[in-house]
Symmetry: C2
Subunit: 211 residues, 2 copies
């Protein structure tokens, strides 16, 4: 066993248990809908900020819809590879596919042709998998806007959209549009978000922090 | 050109410019040391929170040391693949290697033998590359603690340590230990951190947001 000059917990299971205890102590979950609380704990764990739970919203039955979709074998569609890398593969119920189309060779040219970002253009490549999928957007507001536009135009509907785009330009607005879309969703309102939060939301569909 | 039901900026360059303008408007950079301001803007961009800059600290000349190391061809050593995925490869000055040893086959057994986390055990595999490297830690406090312990025991010294572990158990303490280590560093104090911030710090060494 390693011991060193610093005194800290080295056992991974103990770290998770102590994290969950500290998060539940520090976080006011009373205003969070019961079915979103597992998601809330994971999100707080991911960024170290209990305050974010006041911005967590979701449509009725969103968590159940996402869990059912994953159990049924739905793929997870991610806007950026960082989201994909943050998803704990061993927790996915049936070794679900996790896809990110952003880095495919044709995407920059498609983005130029469409006059939009690569992240938005990459959403067009999701069409064959969208029906009943779990979508996790952790970076680009334009990807979320574009997805909502394509669905309004006739693209298949996912089982759940996890909306965590981040930043100053369009992030809050894109999540507002998601909340008003009538589609099943979980999102963090405002500017805050990120790929780690989007991945954590997927992981939360697969179980709690210290399970 | 695509146009849709939502009104939002679709041009990537315009998004970056508008982001930078909004961040500089919303962020009090006066308390941030001059050489850390480019880093500060990138970090705020990454999480959508101007408030974080009050927790940004670094040793004297840290940014210059990191830039020089990258220009000299130093590798970037990452604790998790999410950090590696967030580094914009096309911005690295000499196509620097970006390494993450966490997913190598022998790491779980090494972690068991050492009685620590996989993230900490993976740091032992950095030894051949550590001398003059840029280290980016965005997830595990145990990885940062373990690195500091190994360096104290004789591992080579990196040119710069970017300390952004996150969470409730050990994150604040590990960054405090980093700040007191005498090693060149940039860090966000407290519980806040994450792989996107660690990657953004590397990207900031390679230039500003809208350059």
């Amino acid at each position: 066993m390693v011991t060193g000059r610093y005194d800290y917990i080295r056992d991974p299971a103990a770290i998770y248990r102590e994290s969950e205890r500290m998060i539940r102590d520090a976080t006011d979950l009373s205003a969070v809908p019961e079915d979103l609380r597992t998601v809330a704990v994971r999100l707080v764990h991911t960024v170290g900020r209990p305050e974010i739970v006041s911005n967590l919203i979701g449509s009725d039955g969103a968590v159940a819809a996402g869990r059912q979709a994953l159990t049924n074998g739905a793929p997870v569609l991610c806007d950026v590879e960082m989201v994909s890398k943050g998803i704990i593969r061993s927790r996915l119920p049936v070794a679900n596919d996790v896809l990110c189309t952003l880095t495919l060779g044709g995407v920059p040219a498609l983005a130029s042709r469409l006059g939009t970002t690569r992240s938005a253009a990459a959403v067009d490549l999701w069409q064959p998998w969208l029906d009943g999928a779990v979508v996790a957007i952790g970076n680009a507001p334009t990807a979320l806007f574009h997805l909502l536009e394509r669905i309004a135009e006739g693209f298949p509907k996912p089982a759940l959209i996890l909306g965590f785009p981040v930043g100053f330009v369009g992030a809050a607005e894109s999540k507002q549009a998601l909340a008003e879309s009538g589609l099943p969703f979980i999102a963090l309102t405002g500017r805050e978000g990120g790929s780690a939060l989007a991945a954590a939301a997927v992981n939360a569909l697969c179980g709690g922090l210290s399970e």
